[in-house]
Structure formats: structure tokens, C-alpha cells
């Protein structure tokens, strides 16, 4: 599946949804600082990888998918939940990149400039996350091709509901 930019999702978000994300992000960042101040950097550091935005993002995805289906006169409750689950699966893959980010900052910060380390670590996060995502996509394709050779060639994909369930929600 190809990665692409799509601005249509922006129209679904309302102003207060951006405010919710801002407040969530700001609160967790402030909290990480307070915890570090009170209990030290070893405990405070844990919260640098706190899943701050995931609950809010997943809830919004569920809501948007549900609204889309309701506009078509359908019940989108289950679709909304599965789509949020697919997003969370992406976050699990991204967390591997987050580990790489933390490792680089930990090992390189003492002897390098802060801006250089943060830039390098952020690029490494993106590269590692994308590699894990690409690896999973390749594995998925190969497994599907083995289980359902016809659907992997674009033939009667709809006749393979089990194999294409995840794919239908990953759009």
C-alpha cells in the first residue's frame, strides 16, 4: 500500500478537537517536568515516552469513522473501533523508532551539540519507524500471497474477506 498525503481528513476535525490534543500534549509535557523535578530524571524520563496523544487520537478516529458511516445511513461503530486499532498498531511500530530516538539521545548527548543530537535522533525515529512499517507490509504481502495467491494478483480480492479485513480498514 502506498503512502500518500490526504487533506480530506482535516475537514472532519473540529476546532475543539485540536484544542483537546494541545491540552493533552501540554499536560503530559508539564507533568513529565513536574515528575522529574520531584522524583528525579530516572522516573521523569519514563514519561518522555508516555502515550500522550494515543487515547485522544484513537477516540477521534473512532468518532470520525462512525460519522462517515452514519452519513451513508450505516452503523459505523465497529468500523470505528477497528480503524482506531489499526492506528494503534501503527503507533506500536512507531514505538520501535521511539526506542531508537531515546538510545541516540542517551548515548550521544554528552559529547555532541543538543540541536544536532535531537535532529539526528528525530530522523532516526522516522527512518526506524518507516522501516518497521515497510517490513510489516512486505511480510503481510508475502503471507497473503501464500495463503491466497489469486487475491495477491488483484483478482477477486473481495472473495477473501478474512485476508483483506485489515486492509479495508487501513485506508
Amino acid at each position: 500500500m502506498k503512502v500518500k498525503f490526504d487533506t480530506s481528513g482535516l475537514g472532519l476535525s473540529r476546532w475543539y478537537e485540536y484544542v483537546i490534543r494541545f491540552v493533552f500534549g501540554g499536560t503530559i509535557t508539564a507533568l513529565a517536568g513536574i515528575v522529574a523535578e520531584r522524583y528525579g530524571p530516572e522516573i521523569g524520563g519514563l514519561f518522555l515516552a508516555f502515550p500522550a496523544i494515543l487515547p485522544a487520537a484513537a477516540t477521534l478516529i473512532e468518532k470520525h469513522e462512525k460519522e462517515k458511516k452514519e452519513r451513508a445511513g450505516l452503523d459505523g461503530t465497529l468500523r470505528g473501533r477497528v480503524t482506531a486499532g489499526v492506528d494503534a498498531a501503527g503507533a506500536a511500530m512507531g514505538s520501535v523508532g521511539l526506542m531508537v530516538f531515546a538510545l541516540i539521545v542517551w548515548l550521544k548527548l554528552a559529547n555532541s551539540s543538543l540541536s544536532l543530537v535531537l535532529l539526528g535522533a528525530t530522523l532516526a525515529w522516522l527512518a526506524a519507524s518507516m522501516m518497521v512499517w515497510e517490513l510489516r507490509e512486505t511480510l503481510y504481502r508475502r503471507i497473503r500471497a501464500r495463503l491466497h495467491p489469486a487475491s495477491s494478483h488483484g483478482l477477486h480480492a473481495a472473495a477473501q474477506p478474512g485476508s483483506s479485513t485489515h486492509r479495508r480498514f487501513d485506508e
Binding site: 481528513g9 494541545f22 501540554g26 496523544i53 494515543l54 498498531a89 521511539l98 535531537l118 535522533a121 485506508e171
Partner: protein
């Protein structure tokens, strides 16, 4: 108080930018990568280094590694429950935080304490 406010604003902006990037990308599994963006870390580390120095920030980054492992298990549990069991999102994402806390503090206790 001023420092907390600065952290709140900077953190809010950085998290929002990464969330917006995720909104603009498809497929959903790829956009989800941005749910694990180092947004809180980016906002925090700049302020921490300027106030406490690199050694202190390095210790935070070491613990962040454990937090990221906990994040992996949290996101994995949430995605499995939502995709396979199709349970409501808010309780799942909220209650599964116990997984993050257990994993993060368990690993911290075992490895760093």
C-alpha cells in the same frame, strides 16, 4: 510556575504538529507511526538541557528507552483489543494505561534501580 506554563505551551504545540502530520497521511497504519512521535521528549529535552545540563537530560533519555518499550506493549494491547475484540475505544485506551505503568515501572525497577 512559569516553567510549567512554558512546558505546557511548547509540549502542546509540538504534540499538535505531529498529530496534524498524522492526520494528513494515509494509510492509517502509517499515520499511526506519528502517534509514537517523540513529541513530549523534543519539547522537554530542550528545556531540561538549558536548565539542568546534558548529564541530567541523558539520564532522562535512558529512562525514556524503558518508557518506549512500555509504549510498545501498551499500543500492542490496545490495537489487539480494538481489532480482534472490537471493544469501545475510550475504556480500552484508558484502562490499558495500566499496561504502560506496569511495564515502565517494572522494567525501571528491574534494570535501573
Amino acid at each position: 510556575m512559569k516553567e510549567i506554563l512554558v512546558r505546557f505551551v511548547v509540549g502542546g504545540v509540538v504534540v499538535s504538529v505531529f498529530a496534524l502530520l498524522g492526520d494528513l497521511l494515509k494509510p492509517k497504519s502509517f499515520a499511526g507511526l506519528f502517534g509514537a512521535a517523540p513529541s513530549v521528549a523534543l519539547a522537554t529535552l530542550v528545556l531540561t538541557v538549558s536548565k539542568r545540563g546534558k548529564e541530567y537530560a541523558g539520564l532522562e533519555a535512558r529512562s525514556m528507552l524503558i518508557g518506549a518499550i512500555a509504549f510498545f506493549f501498551y499500543a500492542l494491547v490496545v490495537s489487539r483489543l480494538l481489532i480482534r475484540r472490537k471493544v469501545p475505544v475510550l475504556p480500552v485506551t484508558g484502562l490499558s494505561m495500566a499496561v504502560w505503568f506496569a511495564c515502565a515501572f517494572g522494567c525501571w525497577y528491574a534494570m535501573l534501580r
